[in-house]
């Protein structure tokens, strides 16, 4: 009797809510597929396809206007023996390493200063971001003017102070040119470091500093044993972003020196542009661009592993 009642109720229920036989989206697999589609199309169209196209290009003998044939690794063999390419590789590493050290140093120093209480704190913090807000090309043009052999305000100031007696040709000398673009890159990125690290510092409870002070730690010990280890995860992420951006930097060098003098300041990106677009050797330019990829991948993997280790500690 009881079972019969339940059976009847179930039958009734089924009639009221028919099973969705023909409704595709009720199936989780189809639903997931549909939801992922837009992202997959976007990623495919704007990242996977260009990357694939770049690889194909680097394996061909394409030039501007000429389709070209498949040539295997000939382009890579060619750039391997290209002394300018080797200089560009060395420059990129040197440029990335030196700027990162200075950006981190100055950025951290600035962040520690800004983390204190003083009047007008909010305004100063906002003002610090200015170099980062101005479009890179604009600010770089301003710097180019400051480094101009004839009109350099830096030369003028040094001359007036009496430190130099003759003009310095900042962008005309290979070493000075490299130093100059390093200075501009550091100037531009320090705000990003400072503000990001400041955000990290603000998550560290001031009570920890007080506890350490009572525990007998001197200011630099408080920094080294308490602040620095707690800031490390944020620092690593900031450095990671910065390294990727600096490694693939283009605008700054392109505007300041165009890779000169005598190819002394070429980076991967500027040299790839010069060969690929400037000279029209599309396939060779693609090969130079792609050569950057394994280095960048290695750096990113190492840093991500390190970040994971720090965070799970």
């Amino acid at each position: 009797m009881a079972i019969a009642t339940i059976g009847a109720a179930a039958r009734q229920n089924r009639q009221r809510n028919p099973r969705p036989r023909n409704r595709l989206l009720e199936d989780e697999r189809w639903l997931a597929f549909t939801l992922l589609m837009p992202t997959a199309i976007l990623l495919g169209l704007f990242i996977a396809y260009p990357f694939f196209k770049g690889v194909m290009l680097s394996l061909s003998s394409s030039r501007v206007g000429i389709e070209g044939d498949f040539v295997g690794l000939a382009n890579f063999a060619k750039i391997w023996n290209d002394s300018i390419f080797r200089t560009a590789v060395w420059n990129t590493f040197w440029y990335t390493a030196v700027t990162t050290v200075f950006k981190l140093g100055f950025g951290l120093w600035l962040a520690l200063l800004l983390n204190r209480h003083f009047k007008g704190k909010a305004y100063i913090r906002a003002a610090i971001l200015l170099p980062f807000i101005i479009p890179t090309v604009l600010s770089t043009f301003a710097w180019k003017w400051m480094f101009d052999p004839t009109f350099s305000v830096i030369n003028w100031a040094l001359f007036k102070v009496g430190l130099i007696s003759a003009r310095i040709n900042w962008l005309g000398d290979p070493d000075l040119a490299m130093a100059s673009i390093i200075v501009v890159n550091v100037w531009r990125a320090v705000p990003f470091f400072a503000i990001s690290l400041l955000a990290g510092l603000q998550t560290i409870s001031p009570e920890l500093q007080e506890a350490a002070a009572i525990d007998g730690a001197r200011p630099w010990q408080r920094f080294w044993y308490v602040t620095w280890p707690l800031l490390l995860p944020v620092t690593m992420v900031v450095v990671l972003f910065s390294v990727i951006q600096t490694f693939a930097d283009f605008q700054l060098v392109y505007v300041m020196t165009g890779g000169g003098p005598a190819n002394a300041t070429h980076l991967f990106a500027t040299y790839a542009y010069q060969i690929g677009i400037g000279t029209g050797l599309l396939s060779e330019g693609a090969a130079i661009s792609l050569a950057m990829f394994p280095f960048l991948l290695l750096i990113v993997v190492v840093q991500l592993l390190y970040i994971r280790r720090v965070e799970t500690r």
Partner: protein, 363 residues
Amino acid sequence: MAQVVIRNLNKKFDEVHAVKDVNLQINDKEFMVFVGPSGCGKTTTLRMVAGLESITSGEVLINDTVVNELPPMDRDIAMVFQNYALYPHMSVYDNMAFGLKMRKFDKAEIAQRVQEAADILDIGPLLKRKPRQLSGGQRQRVALGRAIVRHPQVFLFDEPLSNLDAKLRVQMRVELKKLHNRLGTTAIYVTHDQVEAMTLGDRVVVMKDGLVQQVGAPLELYNRPANRFVAGFIGSPAMNFLPVTLADTDGSLWAVGPEFRVKPPAAMAGRLRGHTGKAVLLGIRPEDLRVTNGADPADHTFEATVEVTEQLGSEILLDLTAGPAPMVASVEPTVTAKVGDRLRLAFNPDRLHVFDSQTEASI
């Protein structure tokens, strides 16, 4: 041996005068509690003793040495913070050892002291864990451990139990008391909880608006509050205050309220004479009120209406009104009072308090 002396201590934050002319002497081995509502200056005073806050004027002395200009590390103190302030990236062991490492103790000595503290606090098995793997109570113990390994002259506690749940708080309170009995280190303890103050303190400092209201042993504050604020702050439920006028009728002194009239005991009459004809505040603690059994003299009883009854099991709290004046009485659990009942209440005449309604000082 460590005594802390505070002389004319003041602290001003821009506009706010947070601590005003505080004078205190905390004796060796004493457990001194600072209690008061938030913003009363108790934590600021503690932080000035710790050296975490600059002193606007006045002096702090530890063992007869003025420490105003000494950094915290040179004051030989240890502090337990409200949020524990454990170093999140260090193990429990390293947290406790940090102060000793900074003071360049050798490794064996550090290990021995940490083990000793861990044994006292029963946290031996936790030494390898990180703070985030600990419960609130365990973190509290580690914070205590970090303080005791250093064998400091003075312990400073800044509301150390306020982040624990009620049950754990009671348990840790007892443990803190035991710990103090065992170590005998001079301690200053800040809390806003009057129960903690009463149970832990050898002496208690009640503060309000940056001013010390009264200093004394817990029972002294309870039995002889110096003013209306202390009377209302110490004891739970809080003391009842009834505005009355003192009147001289037929040669004896009466406290006359809007709908009742009681006679203060003869022992008080002398002190109250000077206030005859003036409005004063009558203070009666809920536990000094009971439902009359008929044997009480009429002078010490009055009528009140029950508004709310709160059953606590061991007692009943009655919210009453005597005329316009609201009050709370804590009565025997056997009393069967219902809302709206009119009861005759008797008060214990020896435990009556009278306060000046202008100055609020005890008369």
